[in-house]
């Protein structure tokens, strides 16, 4: 019987892993949708407490209860998420949204971090490549030319570290 190659074993292990992940993804039932929770975490409380609407719980908050009622009413009336959010913006201004939108100048808020990250990553890779181009690999030392003590030291390190 021919022993399988090591590469084949790794490939089979990878396939098994992917299969296991796929099976696990499909296991079990998903929870019911919770639009209310999702939307109240995309809005801010407008009382000045700087908290997410769904998490604002300070006693006697004058605004959050009303906002949450409006949100429930919006969902019950069959509006889409965007229509509900637009309604809040019309009533309270853009500050009611917990994050910038993906339109107009707001888009810059989303793009800038990734642009900076990409540019910095690219710059670093190019810099390292430029530094490393033309550099010779460390010269291999002929073990036979070393003195016995050094040879023994290297051998012990090799043994100890399992190289």
């Amino acid at each position: 019987m021919i022993a399988p190659k090591r590469g084949d074993i790794w490939m089979k292990a990878l396939q098994a892993g992917i299969l296991a992940v796929a099976v696990c993804f499909s296991l079990g039932a998903t929870d019911a949708s919770s639009r209310y929770n999702s939307l109240n975490h995309r809005l801010m409380c407008t009382c000045g407490c700087s908290e997410i609407l769904g998490e604002c719980n300070h006693v006697g908050c004058p605004n959050s209860t009303g906002e949450l009622k409006e949100l429930s009413a919006g969902i019950e009336s069959g509006k889409t998420d965007q229509e509900i959010l637009d309604g809040f913006v019309v009533k309270y201004g853009a500050v009611v949204l917990a994050a910038p939108t993906a339109h107009g100048f707001d888009l810059v808020a989303w793009i800038a971090p990734f642009a900076v990250f990409g540019a910095a990553l690219l710059g670093t890779i190019l810099l390292v490549r430029r530094w490393s181009v033309g550099r010779t690999a460390p010269i291999a030392v002929d073990i036979a030319t070393l003195d016995p003590a050094e040879r023994e030291r290297r051998e012990r390190i090799r043994r100890d570290t399992g190289e």
Binding site: S50, W131, R135, D160
Partner: protein, 705 residues
């Protein structure tokens, strides 16, 4: 301005006058320290003939700095004394204390307002300066430069205290019988230590900044300044870390919203210098070991200090809206001007002396320990940029398009969380790569276990129900949690395998068991293995943070013996009552909590209303076990029924965050301890003599493996 100061001195109580005079003396001493220091160092640098000995002048400057510490301490003492003496003739005391305030909180009134916290800043700066000036014999010239730069910073803070935000200003009109009291949110044990910790971190970064700028000014040869500042930087970093975590715990326990980090601008302001400081702690290793990234390191520490000033500006000037920010005040202008001066000095010094910072080596491979440090720095700085960008974007948007927007948690969750996970990944990869260049063989050998751990964790998590998909769409929270768990497992495996590899070597050499060998390994290179322990702490914290994706809560009005269920717990209301003392009235509920049909423990969430301010305050009841926290909030009473409204949260893995902090602190303390030197190692490590070894050998290997 003079007449105001004169009036304060003439009319105030003795302690107010004493404090004001002490501040004026401290200001004068800091001014002398700065001017005399500059003159002396200039004369020494140029060799110009001087009317007096520059060395003696520099020493008088140093002594003035020491005396300045005593003067600022006297001012801080005067303010604390006045708080305890209920001296409401001082406006600051009247606004931030009252007679019924418990002693510990009276003490914390020192930093509860703008003037007091600036005084605390100045005092801590003086404490650091005192230690710096006392230990000047380590390197007299470098310390003279650092001490003089520090005096410049002290002059700024003292000028603000003397001219813009005097803590001993007198109350206009008839002195009230009682004060306004302390903000109820601050009346919590953590608040007695969180701000000083945070300030120790903020202020402490001034010291490595002074050394870096001083070393650049004097074109200091070698990397000694980095070795000198290493302990300062690590201790400062530790304080800042502890301060941030204490703040998180305070937010968790007091604000009653079930979370601990809200991406509030002031939270962000404390996090930004932490990120750049962390980057600095990593990249200085490149400079020490390979003479690389010298300019980078200098700018990292410059940026860190500038970010601490920016953080203070955000808190003090009302630049952005925040639950932490004090009322808008004129001192914002002071900080902007000072930051501009600091930046100008940094740029000028750098341009003048940048030739001194030429790197000695370059990176040789993209896959090496050096490049992992570089990428680590890159990611930390990008994270810092993201947070700075998110914090300032509302201001930028208002300026550019006249439209103020909110940048809250959803933005950071989408942008900063992936960057954080990538950083965590680098935490695991870096230690597995050798310096200079890695061979494919070594990469394969080192990465097999972490990769297996990653995929096993993914499969296990999916199997137990951590699914990144919900109703056919990506569930962002669950997806990040899954990735965070898997990467954490991989990183933990990588770090533990590093420990195991080293410990096995020592175990073979000494015949000790693996645990003793691990301890010896750590002692032999405390910096490296202390660092690994810090990374373990970070992994534990990340696991705790990832748990927030599975938070759930339930709210209910509970009549007597009504029950509510959350997770494995059933909460039964067995009583609700009221109480009062001199400081506040409170309402609370008594809840019997049962699990599996058996009564397990009792909780008592509470709501207080402080008498002086009339402000309400939540006192959350928390029952913490490793798997989750049961977090119960008394939300108030239904005005119609008079029954308490209880909100209960089940927050998975929160305890891991605080446990991670403990590990992180232990790791930092270990990294601060000097490694066993070869000579001491030879005394402490018995050697198993065998073929190829001689009794003295391990001692020679003591420092590094």
């Amino acid at each position: 301005m003079f007449s105001l100061r004169a009036r304060i001195i003439l009319e105030s109580s003795f302690m107010a006058a004493f404090g004001t005079i002490a501040l004026l003396i401290a200001f004068a001493l800091a001014g002398y320290n700065l001017l005399a220091g500059i003159l002396a160092l200039r004369w020494i640098a140029t060799g110009q003939p001087a009317p007096i000995s520059p060395e003696r002048l520099a020493d008088t400057a140093r002594r003035a700095g020491i005396a300045g510490f005593l003067a600022i301490s006297a001012a801080a003492f005067a303010l604390v004394w006045s708080v305890f003496a209920n001296d409401f003739s001082i406006t600051y005391i009247m606004e931030h204390s009252n007679r019924a305030l418990p002693g510990a909180y009276k003490f914390s009134a020192l930093w509860s307002g703008q003037e007091g916290s600036l005084l605390l800043w100045a005092w801590l700066l003086a404490v650091y300066g005192f230690v710096l000036r006392l230990t000047h014999k380590t390197d007299v010239k470098l310390y003279a430069y650092a001490g003089t730069i520090l005096a410049g910073i002290q002059v700024f803070f003292l000028a603000v205290l003397v001219f813009a935000a005097p803590p001993f200003a007198l109350y206009q009109g008839v002195t009230p019988d009682d004060g306004n009291g302390l903000n109820p949110l601050l009346q919590y044990p953590e608040m007695v230590i969180h701000p000083p910790m945070l300030y120790l971190g903020y202020v402490g970064f001034a010291i490595p900044f002074c050394f870096a700028l001083g070393a650049l000014m004097m074109r200091y040869p070698g990397e000694k300044w980095i070795k000198v500042t290493r302990i300062w930087t690590m201790v400062t970093w530790l304080f800042l870390t502890a301060g941030i975590f204490l703040g998180m715990h305070w937010a968790y326990a007091v604000l009653g919203w079930g979370g601990y980090w809200g991406w509030d601008p002031v939270e962000n302001a404390s996090f930004m210098p932490w990120l750049t400081g962390t980057a600095f702690l990593h990249s200085v290793m490149m400079q020490e070991k390979r003479g690389m990234m010298k300019s980078w390191n200098v700018w990292l520490i410059f940026s860190t200090f500038l970010l601490t000033l920016l953080g203070t500006l955000l808190t003090r000037a009302g630049l952005v809206s925040s639950v932490h920010a004090f009322a808008q005040s004129s001192i914002g202008t002071w900080f902007v001007v000072f930051m501009a001066i600091v930046l100008a000095v940094c740029i000028f010094t750098y341009v003048l002396n940048r030739s001194h910072l030429k790197t000695e080596h370059h990176l040789e491979s993209l896959v090496s320990r050096e490049s992992s440090f570089l990428f680590n720095n890159l990611v930390l700085l990008v994270a810092c940029f993201v947070i700075l960008w998110g914090t300032l974007f509302p201001v930028i948007s208002e300026y550019v398009v006249g439209n103020k927007v909110t940048v809250g948690a959803p933005f950071y969750n989408r942008v900063a969380v992936p960057i954080g996970i990538f950083l965590l990944l680098l935490t695991g990869i870096g230690p597995l790569l050798p310096w200079r260049a890695a061979s494919f063989k070594s990469i394969r050998r080192n990465f097999v276990l972490p990769v297996i751990a990653f995929w096993v964790t993914v499969i296990v998590c999916l199997a137990v129900g951590v699914k990144p998909w919900k109703d056919g769409a990506l569930d962002q929270g669950n997806f990040y949690a899954l990735v965070a768990f898997a990467v954490s497992a991989a990183v933990m495996t990588a770090i533990l395998s590093e420990f195991l590899r080293g410990a096995n070597v020592i175990s073979k050499q000494t015949g000790r068991n693996i645990f003793t060998a691990t301890w010896l390994l750590t002692r032999r290179n405390t910096r490296r293995y202390g660092g690994y322990i810090i990374h373990i702490g970070v992994v534990i914290v990340v696991i705790g943070l990832a748990g927030s994706a599975f938070n759930r809560n339930v709210e209910s009005e509970l009549a007597l013996h009504d029950k509510m269920n959350i997770g494995p717990y059933t909460l039964e209301c067995v009583g609700f009552s009221q109480d009062s003392n001199l400081n506040y009235n409170s309402e609370f509920a008594l809840l019997d909590v049962s699990s599996g049909g058996k009564k397990a423990f009792q909780m008592s969430p509470e709501k207080r209303v402080y008498l002086i301010t009339g402000q309400p305050q939540t006192m959350v009841a928390i029952h913490s076990v490793p798997s989750w926290d049961l977090y119960v909030v008394y939300e108030g009473t239904n005005p119609d029924s008079g029954q308490p409204i209880i909100k209960a949260y089940l927050n998975p893995l929160v305890g891991w965050i605080w446990a991670g902090l403990v590990v992180l602190v232990i790791g930092t303390l270990i990294a601060l301890v000097p490694s066993l030197s070869p000579s001491t190692a030879s005394l402490r490590v018995p050697v198993r003599t065998g073929p190829g070894t001689t009794p003295g050998e391990p001692a020679l290997k003591g420092g590094r493996l």
